[in-house]
């Protein structure tokens, strides 16, 4: 039954992806004026304009264009050609994705434990100072403009204390050439590998130092959401009769929370974790731009600025795909955790 649930969820996400491609395809038609001319720029030669017109199949009817676009995406796994960088988008993404993944994983490693801890503590010690403190942190987290937080972090930790660098991924002083030496394209992993191989730990230390500030800035929003969801889910569960029974039997608070409450409060918390992760893996638009982190988010913003439409199309497609994928994984994990799910219940969604 679980397999069937997973399969239904998978099938249900296909129309979502199709709609996304349709929206992105349609968005290109929203640009005022002749698309080929706009894309080529004002000083382009007529040949270049004609080349773009041909490569986008602009002379065909729209459904043929859409069909060809889908065929290229799905069958050839080709995201197109960047106008600004004059390179295949696949190549550009291949170098940006590892940076984004590294940052997203680091942010989640902060957000999940901290959010869970604060949420559980404030639910168990409800209306204590702990609870107020945790709720205040969570409220601040959802209300803080991340670009402002990033600036404050840079000001305090880099300028005032001089502890951490503000932008980039690796210090110039480290003897490491990413182009030829990087195995994983994630410098913390490369550093770890080199360190374990006995080549010294300086790459690792440098990479971690550069990762700390962006990861902390990026973790605030997911941390706050996880904390709020954990608190309310735990409060729901802690009011149930079986918890009172367990307490009456003389079990300690710690045991009750760990053995009885946590399992049952897990479902909404897992869902929100996957939703937040999906948003992070698509590229952190603001954080990456702030810290000059060469990931997908930064690439996307730059391509909007330079009116590189194929890149914008593929960038947003990737963000959307990540979101749908993680949403789906969340659904599947929840289905696996929840014995009540015998079969999928139609349009059941994230926040519920």
């Amino acid at each position: 039954m679980f397999i069937r649930h997973a399969f239904t969820r998978f099938v249900a996400s296909i129309p979502v992806l199709l709609l996304l491609t349709l929206v992105l395809f349609g968005a290109l038609k929203l640009i005022p004026g002749d698309i080929a001319l706009v894309m080529a720029g004002e000083r382009a030669t007529p040949e270049r304009v004609e080349y773009i017109r041909e490569s986008l199949h602009l002379n065909d009817p729209w459904f043929v264009q859409y069909g060809l676009y889908l065929k290229r995406l799905v069958l050839e796994a080709d995201l197109g050609h960047s106008l600004f960088h004059d390179q295949p988008i696949n190549t550009l993404f291949a170098s940006a994705i590892p940076a984004t993944v590294e940052l997203a994983v680091a942010a989640l490693l902060i957000a999940i434990p901290v959010g869970l801890f604060l949420g559980v503590v404030s639910a168990v010690a409800r209306r204590s100072w702990w609870d107020r403190f945790a709720s205040l942190i969570a409220l601040t987290g959802v209300s803080m403009p991340i670009f402002w937080l990033a600036l404050l972090l840079m000001w305090f930790f880099s300028l005032n204390l001089g502890w951490l660098p503000t932008s980039g991924r690796l210090s110039d002083e480290v003897l490491f050439d990413p182009a030829s030496q990087s195995l994983f394209r994630m410098y913390t992993l490369d550093g770890l590998y080199l360190g374990l191989a006995g080549e010294g730990w300086d790459v690792f230390t440098s990479a971690v130092r550069y990762l700390v500030l962006p990861a902390v800035a990026l973790s605030t929003i997911p941390m706050a959401h996880i904390c709020r969801m954990t608190r309310s889910a735990m409060l729901d569960v802690l009011q149930q009769d079986y918890i009172r029974t367990a307490r009456a039997k003389g079990l300690s608070v710690f045991k009750v929370v760990l053995k009885h409450a946590a399992r049952n409060a897990a479902l909404p918390v897992v869902t929100i974790m996957f939703l937040q992760a999906g948003a992070l893996f698509g590229g952190a638009v603001i954080t990456e731009t702030m810290f000059a982190w060469p990931g997908l988010g930064k690439l996307l913003v730059e391509s909007i600025g330079s009116r590189d439409f194929p890149m914008v199309q593929s960038g947003t497609l990737f963000v959307g795909c990540m979101f749908v994928l993680f949403n789906l994984m969340g659904d599947i994990v929840v289905g696996w955790l929840d014995p009540r799910i015998k079969q999928a219940s139609g349009t059941q969604k994230g926040n519920g």
Binding site: V23, L139, S143, V301, G305, T316, T347
Partner: protein
């Protein structure tokens, strides 16, 4: 009609008994008044450059500053206080108007879909679910990228991105009301569809719409400011909080005040909106009322 007190009166009663909501409303009230009264409160023009005499004047509480420029001046000698107040007009509008657009598009569709049910409802909600599956900032980003940048486009983009949320909320509420006797009665009376929806169903769904609208105001403001910060919304020299942060970024090391004040303004506004939204939700949702009682 039922003899229930109006929704707005109910909301007011909740606010009257909730300290958090009161504080949040007070802060919001002050912010809105400051934004509206900006030309009278600030002695300087937000756009006038003064490159010779007053670049990087610090705020009044720092040595070298004076009440002449209470929040100091920026790299071009413009008065930060005046810019923050005038910026409030645009930033608050960029949070509020998208919500109006979102409500205007989403609520009628949601009400119609929920009330009619059947095939129409299924198709509309399928599409709606697809749109809801994406983060609203992504939809806004796509629209801004392709419509072009600018204040009006930004508002439209963020507004459209919020429409599915309101459609979802109002549809759920309409679904709960459609078989109630007063609605059936109005229908039997020969009331037109729009009269049933807007005169009878809408007032009873307002509770949840108001709560979601308050929260959306907060996140729309954050998103608009974020897009402006990235250079995809309001462009300098127009005073808008996000755009001001983008402009001041380069001068951060010599003049922290160019960033601290607009950022604090965004934070304070969003924080009080979220506090208000939380308080209203807890007060209006019977389930969580028990929880906080």
């Amino acid at each position: 009609m039922t003899a229930k007190p109006s929704v707005w009166f109910q909301l007011w009663m909740e606010v009257k008994h909730n300290r958090t909501a009161q504080i949040a409303l007070l802060i919001l009230f002050i912010l809105v008044v400051c934004a509206i009264a900006a030309p009278w409160l600030a002695h300087h023009d937000p756009l006038t450059l003064n490159l010779e005499t007053s670049r990087f004047v610090p705020p009044f509480f720092v040595e070298g500053g004076s009440m002449h420029h209470p929040f100091g001046t920026d790299a071009s000698g413009r008065d930060v206080f005046a810019r923050v107040l005038h910026g409030g007009r645009i930033s608050l509008a960029l949070g509020f108007l998208p919500v109006v657009i979102g409500v205007g598009l989403g609520v009628p569709l949601g009400l119609l879909s929920g009330y009619l049910g059947g095939r129409v409802d299924q198709i509309l909600m399928r599409i709606n679910d697809c749109l809801l599956a994406f983060p609203s900032i992504l939809l806004a980003l796509i629209l801004v990228a392709f419509l072009g940048q600018g204040i009006v486009n930004l508002m439209i983009a963020v507004g459209i991105a919020y429409a599915p949320t309101f459609a979802r909320v109002s549809r759920g509420a309409a679904l709960g009301e459609r078989n109630k006797e007063y609605v059936v009665g109005a229908f039997a009376h020969g009331a037109s569809l729009s009269r049933i929806l807007f005169k009878h169903v809408l007032p009873n769904t307002l509770n949840s719409i108001v709560v979601v609208a308050t929260m959306s105001f907060a996140s729309a403001l954050l998103e608009s400011a974020g897009l402006s910060f990235l250079g995809l919304g309001v462009r300098p020299p127009v005073p808008e909080w996000g755009a001001m942060l983008a402009e001041g970024k380069a001068d951060f090391y010599q003049a922290w005040w160019t960033l601290v004040f607009p950022g604090a303004a965004i934070f304070l506004t969003v924080l009080s909106l979220n506090m208000l939204g939380d308080a209203l939700r807890d007060a209006l949702d019977p389930r969580s009322e028990r929880r906080t009682a």
